[in-house]
Amino acid sequence: MQQQQMEVNPRGIPKAPFVENVEDHVTVEEPVEIVLKKFQEATAKYKFMEMNHLTRKSNLDAKIPEIRKTLEMVQFLEIEAGDEDDAKEIETMYELNDTLYATAKIKPTGKVCLWLGANVMLEYPVEEAAELLASKLSAALKTLKNTEEDLAYLRDQITTMEVNTARVYNWDVKQRRIARAKAESSDAAGLD
């Protein structure tokens, strides 16, 4: 394949070359087998990238509802704590263990503790916690959108490469058939 200026998408994924005319890509130096092999390699690379993106997407799909649930609870506490001294106790049932719940009476204190991962928990005033979670949620949603865009872009490149491969292969089959027909007819002529 000629050395062309590789276009890339915003995340740096190269654009697949499009075979306008099969003869342009198949030369004596680069016979059909080599071209097909290169196309296969490129298709495999794109498919690998697609798999990575799909994994990332499913991770995000799991994380986003988690963030939403936490945010919902924090917002609820924010509303309850808003009454300050008049705040009544909240009676809640929380999950102590799988299928085991325990009752708790909570007096809204205006502070919540957020689990940040890696065995770290930090106390925040309720409003800050709500802000933090909201920004985490919007960051996750943005990454999800980018990942979905990349996936669509990768789909395009894979389809283009597959169409390229099919056309080069068909062209080759046709060439062989023509060559065979010529050989047969010249044989027939030679026998006369």
Binding site: E20, K69, I90, E91, T92, Y94, T159, R167, K174
Partner: protein, 131 residues
């Protein structure tokens, strides 16, 4: 992919860049439609749950606190507050379902249009059906 028949091989299929774009767009809409259908089913099930809940609550005792699930834990709410939350969730879900449905309809429409163009261009040399 399948092997072409002898007579199908004859045509030298020239694929222009426009054709490639059409094929790519079709493929994208196809993948998107599958995702949308999945999400749509999920939201419909959720809506059914909420509708059942709303009905149950209508029959519930006025003074009994309702354990409403927020996040991972349950909170005791008054019947009124719980019903309010449920109707808010129902409204949001309705909107999301509307949005999904219209996106799905758009995708199907575009795909049908592209199918006509691509079949006219390539005839037997292309397969656009869901197998």
């Amino acid at each position: 992919m399948r092997m072409l028949e002898k007579d199908e091989e004859e045509g030298d299929i020239q694929v222009s860049w426009q054709d490639q774009e059409n094929i790519n767009t079709f493929s994208k809409y196809n993948a998107k439609l599958q995702d949308l259908e999945e999400a749509y089913e999920g939201k419909k099930t959720e809506k059914e749950y909420l509708d059942d809940l709303a009905m149950e609550l209508e029959l519930a005792d006025e003074d009994e606190p309702v354990k409403y699930r927020i996040g991972e834990a349950f909170v005791s709410l008054s019947l009124e507050a719980a019903q309010e939350r449920i109707s808010k969730s129902q409204e949001e879900l309705d909107q999301e379902i509307e949005g999904l449905k219209s996106q799905m309809d758009e995708a199907v429409e575009k795909m049908d249009g592209l199918k006509k163009v691509l079949y006219a261009r390539f005839g037997n040399a292309i397969n656009l059906e869901k197998d």
